[in-house]
Point group: D2
Chain length 366, copies 4
Amino acid sequence: MSHNTFGHLFRVTTWGESHGPALGCVVDGCPPGIRFTLKDIQDELDKRKPGQSRFVTQRREPDEVKVLSGVIADEDGETLISTGTPISMLIENVDQRSKDYGEIARQYRPGHADYAYDVKYGLRDHRGGGRSSARETAARVAAGAIARKIVPGLVVRGALVSMGTKSIDRANWDWDFIGSVENPFFTPDAASVQVFADYLDGIRKSGSSVGAVIEIVAEGVPAGLGAPIYAKLDQDIASNLMSINAVKGVEIGNGFEAARITGEENADEMRMGNDGQPIFLSNNAGGILGGISTGQDVIARFAVKPTSSILTPRKSIDKDGKDVDVMTKGRHDPCVGIRAVPIGEAMVACAIADHYLRHRGQTGRI
Amino acid sequence: MSHNTFGHLFRVTTWGESHGPALGCVVDGCPPGIRFTLKDIQDELDKRKPGQSRFVTQRREPDEVKVLSGVIADEDGETLISTGTPISMLIENVDQRSKDYGEIARQYRPGHADYAYDVKYGLRDHRGGGRSSARETAARVAAGAIARKIVPGLVVRGALVSMGTKSIDRANWDWDFIGSVENPFFTPDAASVQVFADYLDGIRKSGSSVGAVIEIVAEGVPAGLGAPIYAKLDQDIASNLMSINAVKGVEIGNGFEAARITGEENADEMRMGNDGQPIFLSNNAGGILGGISTGQDVIARFAVKPTSSILTPRKSIDKDGKDVDVMTKGRHDPCVGIRAVPIGEAMVACAIADHYLRHRGQTGRI
Amino acid sequence: MSHNTFGHLFRVTTWGESHGPALGCVVDGCPPGIRFTLKDIQDELDKRKPGQSRFVTQRREPDEVKVLSGVIADEDGETLISTGTPISMLIENVDQRSKDYGEIARQYRPGHADYAYDVKYGLRDHRGGGRSSARETAARVAAGAIARKIVPGLVVRGALVSMGTKSIDRANWDWDFIGSVENPFFTPDAASVQVFADYLDGIRKSGSSVGAVIEIVAEGVPAGLGAPIYAKLDQDIASNLMSINAVKGVEIGNGFEAARITGEENADEMRMGNDGQPIFLSNNAGGILGGISTGQDVIARFAVKPTSSILTPRKSIDKDGKDVDVMTKGRHDPCVGIRAVPIGEAMVACAIADHYLRHRGQTGRI
Amino acid sequence: MSHNTFGHLFRVTTWGESHGPALGCVVDGCPPGIRFTLKDIQDELDKRKPGQSRFVTQRREPDEVKVLSGVIADEDGETLISTGTPISMLIENVDQRSKDYGEIARQYRPGHADYAYDVKYGLRDHRGGGRSSARETAARVAAGAIARKIVPGLVVRGALVSMGTKSIDRANWDWDFIGSVENPFFTPDAASVQVFADYLDGIRKSGSSVGAVIEIVAEGVPAGLGAPIYAKLDQDIASNLMSINAVKGVEIGNGFEAARITGEENADEMRMGNDGQPIFLSNNAGGILGGISTGQDVIARFAVKPTSSILTPRKSIDKDGKDVDVMTKGRHDPCVGIRAVPIGEAMVACAIADHYLRHRGQTGRI
C-alpha cells in the first residue's frame, strides 16, 4: 500500500481535499467486461452523502460522479463496460462554504491531525481538514461500487451496531430495515432507532460528539482468498478499515472476544453438508482461517472515535507555541460513525475483489 | 504488501515452514552503517524461543541465527555494520520430531487453516502447520531486531495484559519485571504471575487452550511518521499485527473504548512544555492522529485467539468429505499469546522503521 | 510498476483514452513545499502539443492542464506549493473528431495493438487507439514538469538525433537551438533542419512514416542515486522509456557501442579535480556505474518505430478471421519520434526524482 | 520493483555477495502444484558456472543449489511440488580465495561502481565487487528455472550473436549447436567458434576485455500478456535485462533498426492461418505490439559492456582524493557477455511468468 493507493491487482488511488474543486479516484486493474451503471455507483454514494438527516453534517453536496475513462457504453446507452484500462472517477465539490479560517489556521485542534501535519509536512491545507476530510471517502465508495461487481455473487453489507453507550439488540437484526427511510442510523434493529435518536439529539445539543462500532458482513466470498502470511485476507481488510478516518480498532469474527474464551469454545466445528460443501457449526473465525477465506460469511467490525470537532472549548497550543483554548465551529457530524457504514462496506469489497484477482492470478483455481 | 513481504522501504521477506530444514528472512532496504551484533538478534529470538517454561510448547529449538549477507564486520570482530544491501538471515530447524501425520494429513482440524489451504492451493504441507506454523515468526523477530536499530532512540516493548478471563492490574505496571526469570508470561504486573500460572495450569491440564491480549508500546517515535490516508502509521501497525498467526483484533490507543465515549473525553488536550515541545495531557490517540505520529508513545494492542490444537475431540470432516472427530496431539502452547509478545514488538518496530525511512524519503525532514 | 502507475516514492498514475472526455494523472509522493506554476507545466505540455507544424498530427488540442488537488496557492496568486498530498491533474480532450470507425473497429491494423488488445481483454475501445493513444503521454509530461522541480539543480533536456536514415552532426550540437521557432524537429543541429524537412516531406507525401532516435541528457544528477541490483537507475530509466508508445530500444551512455569495444576503450578514467570532486575523462557509462549515478551527466537514448498508421494498404485480418487489406486514414504523425522528445525528458525526470527520494529515504545522505 | 526484488505476482528477491558464505533467492508467488527437480535448476546453473573453459573466470564454484522451503517431495522422491508458499534457494560460496584487497579497497577502479558505492552508502564491501558481483546472477538463474515451468509450453533460449567486432552469420543459426561441448560461447553458428576463440584469445592475452550482444527468444508465449502502458511486457523484459550487471542497452524485435525504416517496412502484416490462428508475415515487433504479446516469438537483445577488470593500468583516484594508476589483477572473464546468456534467459522467463499470472489475475482469460 502506497501513500494514496491501496490494493495489488485491484488498485485504487484517491486524490482530493475538502475545499478544492473536486476529488476522485483511479481504479486500476479492473477486469475487462465488468458491467455497471452510473446509478450503481451513485446509489452507493448517496448512502454516505451528507445532509440527509439532522444527525449528519449539513454540508450540501450532490456527490455526483463522472466516469472519465476505462469504459465503453453498451448499446442500451446506460450500461458501462470496463475495458481493463484505468477507470477515473471525479466528484466535484460544490458546497465549499467560504469562511474565515484565520484562527483555525494557526491553532492545533485537540484530537485533530493539525499538529501532526505541520510537523510532517511543514505546511498544510487547513481548510476543512485537507486530505483528512471525510469527503475523501466518497472516492472510496465509488471504487467500492465497482469492486462489488467483480466477484460473482458477492454481497457486502454493513450496519451500525453501537453508538456511544447504546447498542443494538442482535436478536432484532433485519438487513432489510437498514435501507428504510425511517432509519437514519444504518441500524439493523428497528427498536434501536428511537434510542439512538434520543441519545444523539442529546449529544448534538450539548455540542458534543460520540463514537460508534460498525459491522460489515460479506456473503458469497469464495473459499480460498487470502494467504497464510502477510497477504492474509483479514490483514488486508483490517488495513483497509484502519485507513478510514477516525478508526481506532478492528476485529475479525469474534475479535477480542476470542482472547477471552477457550480453544473448544472458539474453534468452529464442521460437518459435511448435503450439497457436498462443508457446514461450519459456528462462525467465530469470521469466515477466515489462517488468513484464507473458508466460504463462510466474512465478518469485520471497526470502532470509530467521536469527532474532535466539538463546541466545547479545549486546551491546546497554536503555531507560535502559545497555550490557547480551541472551539471548533462549523458543520460537523455528531457521530461520524453513521456515515462510515457505506465506507466500511466499500473498503471490505475492495479488499475482497483484490484478493479474488490475486488468488486467480497465483492459482488459476477460480 | 506482497504475499510474503511486508514494508516499503524497510522490506522484510520471510520464508520457511515448520518441518523443512530451515527458515529465514531477507531484510531489504536497511540503511547503510547500521551497527548491531549477533547477540542483539539472538537476545530477541531467545525471548520467543519455545521450551522455556511449562507454559509453552516443549519443542526444543536453539533458534540460532546466521547472518549470510549485507554486512561487514567491524574491527572489534563482533559488531556487524550493514552495507545497505539485503541482509539474509537463516535459522535451522532442529527438533522436527518425526511422527505419523497419517491421520492429520487427511483431516481438517477445526479452527485450523487446513481446509482453507486445501481449497486455495489444492495441496499442502500438512506437517506442523506448514507455512502457518508459529516457527515462521522467528524470522520476523530477527528482522525486528534490526528495525529497532534504525530509528535513533526508539524503544519498543510489549506486555501481556490479559489471558482468557484474567487481566493484569495496570496500577502495578513495571516494565523491568517483564524480563524477570520469575515471569514466564511477559506480564508487567508481578502480582499477576501466580494468577496466570494457576489459571493456565488448569487450562493445560484439561487439554484446553486460551487466548490473550498483548500491548505494545513504542517510545521515541519522532512526530511526523505516517500519512493522512492509506499509509497511516496506525494502519500499517494494524496490518503488521494482524499478519501474526491467530490474531483476531487490533486496537490503537484506547481503541474500541473510543467508540463508547464523547469527543470531550476522547480528544487529547495539549499544552506547551518548557522545552518548547507540546505536552499532551492524555494519550487516548495512542500517539497517532490522522495517521501521523505526534511524538507521544505509540500504543497498540492485539487479541490472540486460543490455539485450536487441543486434546478435546471436535467435530470435523476429512478430505473425502466424511464426518470425523479430530483430536490434536503433539506439543502445543496452551496460550500462544504468551510468545506473541516479542513478535508483536518486532512487527511494530518494523512498521516504525519503514515509516521513518519513507518520511525521510518524501520530506527530508528527519 | 503496476499497470498504470510508475515510480516508488514519486509515483505517477495516469488514466484516459484518446476519445473520452479527458485524460490525466495523479502524482503521489511529491515532497511538500515544492513550488511551481501552472505555466511551468503548460510550457512542457506545449512542447508536445499536436498541430504545431506540418510534420505532426493536425489534431487541435489546447492541452490545458488543471491542477485539482495537492497544492495551496502562494500569496503571489500564481505559485502553487505542494502539500505532500496527491496532485491530480486533468486535461480535457477537445478535438475528438467524430468519424466512422465502422471498418477500423473490426479490422486489425498491422503494427497496431488491435489484435493483441482483443486477445487480452476480449473487447476494446477502438476509437483513436484507446489507451495506447499518444494523447496519454500528455499526462506523463505534466507529471514530469513537477518531477523536474524536486531535485535541486536538475536539468533534463532531449534532442532528436536521427530520423530514419538521416542523422545530426554532433559537432553542431547546440542545446539553445532546440527551442527555436525555426526548429520543428527538436534537433540540436541547425544544419539538419532542412535535411529532415525535405526527408520527412517526402515520407509524408508518399503516405508513409518513419522512425527516430531521441537522446535525453540529465545534468545536475547527484552521485549516489540508484542501487546495485533491480533498482538500478539505468534500469528504471530504461523501463520508463520503454513504456512510451512505439519505443523498441533503449541505450545508456554508449549503449550497444560498448559491446563492440574493449575494456580500456570503454572504462571512463578519473582524475581529481581542483574542487575536490572527481573528474571523469570520458562518459561512456552515461553517468551510471553499477546502477548508481556518478555525478556525470546521465545520458539515455531510445528508438521510436515508425507509426503503423499509413496510407499504404497492408495485409491483415479482421475480427471474423477473414483476410483483409487495411489502410489507416486520419490525422497521424509521419514521425511520432519528434513529439517523443518532451515525453522522454519527462520519463527520465520522473525516474531521477523517484530515485532521489528513495536514496534520501534509505541513506539520509542527501 | 524494489531494491532487491523483481516481479509482481511471480516475485524474486535475491541476496548475497561474492565473498560472503552464500547467496540465494526467495521465489514468492509461485503457483501451487508446479513440478520440478533439483536437476532442472542445477542444469541451468551449470550453464553459467565459472571455470568451464579458458574463456571464462577460473574461479571454481560448484554452484550447488539447495531448496529450503516451499515444496513437498513427490512420491518418486525426486520431483518437487511447489506448495504456493515462498521457495527459498541457497548456493554456498566455496572458492572465496583469500587475498590482499588492501590497495583495491582504497582505490576506485575505472568503470567499476566503487566510487558510486562509496558516495551512495558511505561504506562498501570491497571484496569481489560486493553486491555487484556476477555471482549474484546465480540466484536469478535458479529462479528462472522455476519460472520456465509456470507457462505451459514456454521455451526460452538465448544465444551470443556478437562479441566485440565479430558477429555470427544468422544464416547458420542452429539452436541445437548451443549446448554442444565444442561451443564455449553460446553461439548458434558453428562457423563462428573458431573466429570467436581466436579473437578472444588475443583479447585475453593482451590483458584486455571485450563486450558482447546476446539475443533471447521465447517461444510459446501466449497472446495477451502485458498491458498497454507501464506494465508492457517489453518494458518489463527491458527492465529485467537492464538489471543484469554490465548491460548498457536493450532492444525488442528489430529494436534500433525500427528507427531507420519506414512504416510499410516495419509493420508486420497478417494473414489467417488454416488453424484459425493468425499468421504474421514477419516479426519486426519481436512478438509484442502495444506492450502486449501477440503469440509470435518474443525476441529481445541486450548489449554487455567489456569488464573493466583489466590488466592495463588506468588513471583513477583513491579514497583520499589522490590520483592513482589502477590495475585489476585476479580472475576475471575476458568477455562477461558469454555467461550472460543463461542469465538473460532466466530474466526473460521470469518476466513472462509474472505477466502470465498477472494476465490470469486481471482477466481470467488463461
